[in-house]
């Protein structure tokens, strides 16, 4: 057998079942790889070696006790968790100094369901502070590096997750997607990333950023590997009143049905400024779907160019309310004089990073008296138009296919002190969050610098099964997802 960390999640699951390998061996292989490579990649903020080995031992016990068929696919599989998801007793910082030292007293439902099924938690991976960013450059604990080129960003905000998966330090990772934070880093790092439908996976224990947009998703080396992660996490949770009661579908991984698919290609997503190689690779992948029998048609989502301004009013508005809770009283450090209210001002002023402060300010302004109607109210109405675009199009097509990002991974520092130019990185991913629909990002090529190019498929609300089915069929014929960076 080659290196254990070269296995896909499903291959590892199969090796566990045949007894060829133990969870402890898989876990040690991942921990060793983290140890030897993460000084370059900097994906992990916390490595939970003791916890991981204990969970692996428990998983091995289960394999020896019971017949393998009845055991969950994810049993004994080592994964990483984005540092905005609570893991009981494990440092959870959101990439922020304001949560330095915070150890949650409970786990996020997404995490506890996976742990309940026997998944091994290797540690917490880097994120832009409170998931606000597209590069991990906004993390208070330093930037993560793209395993394909260490001078490039891995994307964000789930950049640590994408980098860890691409560097084969884990078999999958949990991420979150509020405006593209799973799909964009997946594209930049050449891995597969699922943004789930709003309400499909519980947000309980996901430290809130934009509550009407936040979703929990996953990143893995290929689409098939994401399926068991999704199946375990998804489903209604009494602890999240916005989680939906709809049954979680079986995920068909046989590539059937692609011939009947109607795929729409939105002309508005092939924007000016799209790197030509990205457009070419995505169009080639769409052509591959046509060759598999899918019907391809050009469609229009006319309000696409309004998604960015809508998002950058609504998300900051929700963030300004959600982040009001950080006051140095119940968790995190406290700064400043022991004097009210000066201690609040100093604690928040010193411990939030610049991007978080910008978004809190933006949101506070958009919600303030005299500006509410013009900004927040108007943004909510335009959001209705954007959502309506998708509803109209899904009358005629089953899936939408388009680029994930305007370019491949950019250089660390490229956006410097220009937040608006960084926001434009999200222009192709934000609409799905505003509409609450699922999206799946997967590699469809490389540019001339050897950097991965991603494509995204979007489906109607709760249409994850269609996404999996189509992307699985693509990967059954393509080989982009089998290429890995040399490290």
């Amino acid at each position: 057998m080659a290196e254990l960390t070269d296995l896909t999640l499903l291959e590892a699951a199969s090796a566990l079942r045949s007894g060829d390998v133990s969870s402890t061996e898989l876990t040690r292989a991942c921990l060793n790889r983290i140890q030897s490579l993460d000084s370059q990649v900097r994906a992990f903020l916390t490595v939970t070696e003791d916890l991981a080995l204990a969970q692996a031992k428990a998983a091995d016990q289960q394999f020896s006790n019971r017949s393998a068929e009845s055991l969950p696919t994810v049993l004994g599989i080592p994964i990483a968790v984005k540092d905005v998801l609570c893991v009981e007793g494990v440092l959870t910082t959101c990439g922020s100094k304001i949560l330095e030292g915070f150890r949650p007293t409970y786990s996020a439902t997404s995490v506890s369901r996976l742990v309940g099924a026997g998944t091994v938690i290797l540690g917490k991976v880097n994120t832009d502070e409170f998931a606000m960013g597209s590069s991990t450059e906004n993390s208070a604990y330093g930037v993560s590096h793209n395993p394909w080129n260490l001078d490039r960003v891995p994307g964000g905000s789930s950049g640590g997750a994408a980098a860890a998966v691409a560097a084969r330090m884990c078999f999958a990772a949990l991420g979150t997607d509020t405006g593209g934070s799973v799909r964009q880093p997946a594209a930049f790092c050449g891995v597969s990333g699922l943004k789930t439908s709003y309400g499909r996976v519980s947000r309980y224990g996901l430290i809130a950023y934009g509550s009407s947009l936040d979703t929990v998703g996953g990143l893995a080396r290929n689409v098939a590997d994401l399926a068991p992660i999704f199946s375990v996490m998804a489903g209604q949770d009494p602890l999240d009143s916005t989680s939906v009661p709809d049954p979680v579908p079986e995920i068909p991984l046989n590539g059937s049905g692609v011939g009947e698919l109607r795929i729409g290609v939105p002309k508005e997503y092939f924007i000016e400024g799209l790197q030509p190689e990205v457009g070419t690779a995505v169009r080639a992948a769409i052509e591959a779907f046509r060759e598999m029998g899918a019907t391809i048609s050009e469609i229009s989502l006319p309000h696409t160019d309004l998604a960015l301004p809508v998002y950058y009013i609504i998300a900051p508005a929700e963030a300004s309310a959600n982040l009001a809770r950080y006051d140095g009283v119940r968790y995190g450090p406290r700064r400043g004089p022991s004097e009210y209210p000066e201690d609040y001002f100093v604690t928040r002023g010193e411990l939030f990073g610049p991007e978080v402060k910008r978004r809190i300010m933006l949101g506070t302004y958009a919600l303030s008296a005299g500006y509410y109607d013009a900004y927040y109210g108007q943004a909510q109405k335009v959001r209705t138009l954007i959502k309506g675009d998708f509803e109209a199009v899904f009358e005629d097509v089953d899936l939408i296919a388009c680029p994930v990002t305007p370019t491949t991974a950019f250089e660390i520092g490229a956006h410097g002190d220009d937040p608006l130019s960084m926001y434009l990185e999200d222009v192709l991913t934000l609409p799905a969050n505003l509409a609450g629909i699922p999206g799946l990002s997967f590699p469809v090529g490389f540019d001339s610098d050897g950097l991965p190019i991603g494509m995204q498929l979007m489906a109607p609300h709760l249409g994850e099964a269609q996404l999996f089915s189509a992307a699985y069929a693509y990967q059954a014929a393509a080989s982009w997802h089998t290429r890995w960076p040399e490290l």
């Binding site: 150890r103 916005t242 009283v329 406290r334 002023g349 402060k357 303030s368 900004y375």
Partner: protein
Amino acid sequence: MALTLEEVRSIAHLARLKLTAEEERLFASQLSDVLEYAARLGEVDTSQIPPTASVLPMNAPLRPDEVRPCPPRDQLLANAPDTEGGMFRVPRVLDLEP
């Protein structure tokens, strides 16, 4: 729409953020850029369009009001920067005569 330094200070006050003079200047310019970009929303006719607060039909589900376990107090207090006698300790917020 350009924000003045005075407006930036007033927003920072509402948001309970102490900013440095440098941050005030920087944010005035950066936030103005974003607001200017967002101004295009004002050009859309939404007079007949209802707002979307959530993509789901929100009908505030109810559950039985039952006592359920919660984490022990010492665990919850363990994350706080300052505690005393099983409580969060904070600077005095009321000016009461002793």
